[in-house]
Symmetry: C2
Subunit: 412 residues, 2 copies
């Protein structure tokens, strides 16, 4: 059951001028399931992406990277069921064939198509079924297709994840709509995570590429469910340029700042939604680390806490087990950490309580306060390292019986 997440309201998902989406049942791995999504982009759209750093990078990721070098992307094809990862030369051929077949239908070049796959690894992609599903997906293309597309890209997700917002940029209203899918295997450098955000702003290509990296860093690269990074993670940012704003070419201006903040806001909400729908999640946890010498050490501490199975099972049990949190901070790899300078707070949206200082439990802390805080499903662990001014936040969820159940049963 997802933590404080619900299906988006279709009416809240605004079309982005220049983007149409369509879905189909292609029977990639199971029948009677929408498992194929097409996204069509108007001419002149700009696209940028960031991808998994896993050395077993899936075939579609390799093809995406190659095709993005040329840009002028006009279509995206997304299938679920089969990840087309660890499939060798045959997998690359299948991804290329997917692009070629899509290109043929749209009258464009194969290099103008980006392929995405998510699902079981090491199984061959039944490319003939995928291709056979393309006409139905193409016939389904429509500007208000975000809601259906957000459903069609789901794997173990229990809820679709999609967000829209508008922002004024250079006197024009810009619309930003995005969708994402998780849910397990989520970690810093992304996971079986797909994220697609489109806006109708006009934005120079170098700034689009900068924004996709900055947005990933603040959102999809700051979440973790189980610490595993997948072979297929991809985050794509699209700017169709149809909003009518003067093209943003300068990162110093107010237009850039406004657009940047709004895109990051959408990315963060999509990333948090993945954690909220983490496999078996019952708690949503923000791990906020402050007072670090550099951002990187703050991230190390935040991830050590967020990855600890002992911390995650304690949170599942609503147990304010400070010892496990402190132990995780202690092994995070900061060799010269002064545990006496450290302060730790536990919090929920209603209150925050200091639980540790001077190398042990805070004198003012009583377990009843910890238990009261942990009764909430939205929790924060705030850690002040007392070493400097840097900070980092990581979002994660707890570890439950259902995590084991879902992942032990996933292929059956």
């Amino acid at each position: 059951m997802a933590v404080n997440l619900s299906t988006p309201n279709p009416a809240d998902l605004r079309p982005v001028a220049g983007v149409r989406l369509g879905v189909a049942e292609a029977g990639i791995r199971k029948a009677n399931r929408r498992d194929l999504t097409l996204i069509e982009l108007a001419p002149g759209s700009r696209v940028a992406g960031v991808f998994t750093r896993n050395r077993f990078c899936a075939a579609p990721v390799q093809v995406c990277k190659a095709h993005l070098d040329g840009n002028d992307i006009r279509a995206l094809v997304i299938n679920t069921g089969i990840a087309n990862a660890g499939t060798g030369e045959g997998g690359l051929a299948a991804a290329r064939e997917t692009c070629a077949a899509t290109a043929q239908r749209f009258g464009i070049a194969a290099q103008q198509v980006l392929p995405f796959s998510t699902g079981v690894i090491l199984e061959p992609l039944p490319v003939e079924r995928l291709v056979a599903g393309l006409p139905a997906a193409q016939a389904d293309l429509r500007a208000d297709g975000w809601f259906d597309a957000a459903h069609a890209i789901m794997t173990t997700d229990t809820l679709a994840k999609a967000v829209s917002r508008t922002v004024e940029v250079g006197g024009r209203q810009v619309t930003i709509t995005g969708m994402s899918k998780g849910a397990g295997m989520i970690k810093p450098n992304m996971a079986t995570m797909l994220g697609f955000i489109a806006c109708d702003a006009a934005l120079a290509q170098p700034l689009l590429e900068r924004l996709v990296r900055e947005a990933a860093d603040e959102s999809f690269n700051s979440i973790t469910v189980d610490g595993d990074t997948s072979t297929n993670d991809s985050f794509i940012l699209i700017a169709t340029g149809q909003a009518g704003n003067a093209e943003i070419v300068d990162a110093a201006g107010a237009d850039w700042e406004a657009l940047r903040a709004a895109v990051i806001d959408v990315a963060v909400r999509l990333a948090q939604a993945i954690v909220r729908d983490g496999e078996g999640a019952t708690k949503f946890m923000s791990i906020v680390v402050e007072g670090g010498a550099q951002r990187e050490e703050c991230r190390k501490v935040a991830y050590a806490v967020a990855h600890s199975p002992l911390v995650k099972t304690a949170f599942f049990a609503s147990d304010p087990n400070l010892g496990r949190i402190l132990a995780a901070i202690g092994y995070a790899g900061i060799d010269d950490l002064d545990v006496n300078a450290l302060k730790v707070w536990l919090g929920n949206p209603d209150e925050s309580v200091m639980v540790a200082e001077h190398g042990g439990r805070a004198a003012s802390y009583v377990e009843a306060a910890g238990a009261r805080i942990m009764a909430h499903s939205e929790l924060s662990v705030r850690i002040d390292l007392g070493r400097g001014q840097a900070a980092a936040t990581v979002w994660t969820c707890d570890f439950s019986y259902d995590y084991v159940k879902i992942n032990a049963d996933y292929r059956s």
Copy 2:
């Protein structure tokens, strides 16, 4: 339920000349539980230890390190229930008081006592109860006390862990007996892991210190249950010098090699026993990584596979999910890993099957073979990185419903 592990036969645990052990019920955290162990060493015994690298290193660990600097150790005191970690100055005072009270009973100096604690973190150690239990533990001292002591140091362990063996060194029979406790929070640089090995060999102090490090590296630092390293991990090696062998002073000789191999054998069996009794374990897994450029990168890959919750839940489900194994290898942090050079085998004691090569599933592999192998409770994943001659092995267990249950309920 532990994996292929049973309670040691008391008759198999040989006394080590110069070592006596006694246990008592001190009511440290719960009543009617043997929670206090004393180990008395004859004069002239030599002691060396390695300890957790967690920055939140527990009070008794700090005291142990200080006392080992002086050596001439004559007694060890071990309590369960409370870890005396994250307890600040009060915790240090409690550990020192434990040593002082023990020293007084034995007529030795407090600096000749090593204290050990394991259990709940951040709670104050009720030192007065511990001290009140000392007379009973002292009265219980006996050379054949290993069996009871191995039980008295248990926390979430389901079975006691103790091993004996003999080896001929310089024409004399040397006896080596050891005990350990786990069970969760176990990882490279040790965890809520206590290990004590005593032998009656005569061994120079510098070689004893070398041997404790080498044995730890091959055993306790090559296991993982959940990746968490605790605040209290300690591994102690004792040489009483009463076997009558000529003191080993040279690491080049046959005496050293014989003793070294036997001590490491005992340490490996004690370390593996911790994994076999890992919280909720149903499978014992050896992750063998070969063909690495250096040992360190082999360990990185082995730990990435061993720590992956997705791999561990798949093994719990007896699912030969190669994709998760390959994904873990891919994110282990070897940036220039050539996935096409990689080979992976799955095995059990009866057979071994190549499952991956050329960046994907091995052409010869059929799922039925994988399923047949996974039906066993003793499993191996062998990975050839195809980059060099280095190798490393890590032992771990699977992740089950019971892991979550045990760790969600531990404090209740």
